[in-house]
Symmetry: C2
Subunit: 335 residues, 2 copies
């Protein structure tokens, strides 16, 4: 059977990983490509520079709590922030389907600029392409971002060790549910808002604890279960997540239960997962909770000796189950 | 009437310029955005860095002389090259329509890598999104590029003055005609190949003359007539182009005549327009001709006192006519 690209190749789950490991990495084959990082890092005359890119194809382009413009800046600056890089500049490239109202374009552009200002970045270069009706879907946006990595922060996937605590900066699943509620005729209205937000501020606020932070990721596509699985794959440790500690809005939980969707696999656009030293975990949570973007931060799990290579969920009722990586899409075009 | 985005907003002509000047610039409003440059330039701890982005939506994705992969690297590294920047790193972000054969994706990816190697750049970060059938068109690619600007080269739109010579590095229109010949059932076959190529080598070869080069652009969308119009707009000089000196392949000319298309407005993907000191113009042409990518280089015009703000063509039969900026699309989705 001829192999073709499926929606699930873009969902951040198993097929995305396969594509990256079996197609992209063997081809581009260079030491800057890092399988678990959201940005590449290189040195330019002594300065450590982080560089990242993302295309945004979210549907619908306006949703409670944001729009494709806000998302396209937040997503990219967050990929820099979790590398410990202060975001400085972004590019903005549009692929517009002909017929998009100019007023809609303007709204999106201004949303990009508003988020850029909030993030401390400048949009300094761009491109516009227009495709025929039916060859696109209103608007797709690509942003690439450049940031400077602080010499005071040393993040490394390889610094993670047994005993480290896992912190999430707030409630999970809200972005996906906000988008879903606009897409389907489910009558949920705007009860849940997307968490979509630029997060470098939050990272900066933790400066006194940078030495205790070992690794950061923003749990977008694939959700926290997907990201933790990426991290644990092939490693000599496991991860235990404590369901009772995971912050979840009541409204989000209600919609998830109704639809049979697992919030652990839902994309977030304004959250960070931290791997930190056990002894400072609670202090770090306190600092996060003092910032509006981290109010609901919590320690949600720990790195355990084994079984290695797996993510386990200790459920509210005390049972344990494996959280595997997602294969099929729960929800396509969420970012 | 409600204003909507039309195909012509993406063709590099008048409507593209209007969008840039009336929508994007007033919104993003910063000193790094340069209306006539293909890249933004900023300083990072003393190093001058060029940063650029382009999305590629060309149709068909394979054409004589190239494919969307080769194009997406060439186009972006050329935008760096014409800023006098040595291309170092690029990002690669894919928007794939579900159903694309995996074998096609692999072909494109390897073409990207082959062109990256030729260009001296590394693909160090990327992203993959998949959209439903009918929401895209096989594959769109965005690349963003980072280069370092040499301190030995001083390019500036404001350095252009009356008497400067205009050089084009080779034949014009080949890219558009190669793509068109694949798109329509015109029976032209593969008589014309795209000129699609990374060009930094050519810029580097001119190193002994860098001080004499005042401005460079790659005449992609809008063609040489479009690009020269952008440059001359609102300035106190004019441009005279000499039709008889403009390199044009016989096959390209024949197809243009048959279809009533003006090659001066056709996109090129492997050419540079140089504005240079009059006295070194011929020497620069000689250097270019000694490189395979510049074999057909020629002096094709000069900067004249007036009438200002206009591009004039001195035709082969000796008459003069204004070359205005294009409004409607001759050929959409050419890059």
């Amino acid at each position: 059977m001829k192999q073709v690209i499926r929606l699930a190749h873009g969902n951040g789950g198993k097929l995305t990983q396969e594509l990256i490991r079996n197609v992209f990495f063997p081809c581009f084959n260079n030491s800057f490509l890092a399988p678990l990082s959201d940005s590449a890092v290189f040195k330019l005359n002594g300065t450590e520079v982080a560089f990242t890119t993302d295309s945004y194809v979210i549907k619908p382009i306006f949703f409670p709590g944001g729009d494709i413009g806000k998302l396209s800046v937040s997503g990219t600056v967050n990929d820099l922030a979790v590398m410990g890089a202060k975001p400085l500049f972004i590019s903005c490239s549009l692929i517009i389907e002909e017929g998009l109202p100019l007023s809609t374009l303007k709204k999106i552009i201004w949303s990009i600029q508003e988020t850029a200002i909030k993030s401390g970045v400048k949009v300094i270069t761009g491109d516009t392409k227009v495709v025929e009706k039916g060859s696109g879907d209103s608007i797709f946006i690509n942003t690439a971002g450049i940031g400077v990595v602080s010499s005071e922060i040393k993040l490394g996937f390889d610094r993670i060790e047994v005993g480290d605590r896992i912190i999430i900066s707030g409630t999970i699943g809200d972005h996906s549910i906000a988008v879903l509620s606009q897409r389907e005729e489910l009558g949920f209205g705007e009860s849940v808002s997307s968490d979509c937000a630029p997060l470098y501020e939050l990272v900066e606020k933790l400066k006194p604890y940078w030495k205790d932070i070992k690794f950061m990721r923003d749990p977008t596509r694939g959700g926290i279960a997907g990201i933790l699985n990426e991290i644990v794959q092939g490693r000599n440790f496991g991860i235990e997540l404590w369901e009772r500690e995971i912050p979840l809005k009541e409204e989000t939980m209600a919609i998830c239960e109704l639809l049979g969707i697992d919030p652990l696999y839902l994309a977030n656009e304004g959250k960070i997962i931290f791997f930190v030293n056990e002894k400072n975990a609670n202090e770090i949570v306190e600092v996060l909770r003092n910032h509006p973007l981290g109010e609901k931060a919590n320690v949600v799990g720990e790195v355990v000796a084994g079984p290695p290579g797996k993510v386990y969920l200790e459920t509210i009722i005390g049972t344990k189950r494996v959280l595997d990586m997602l294969v099929e899409d729960q929800l396509p075009r969420i970012c």
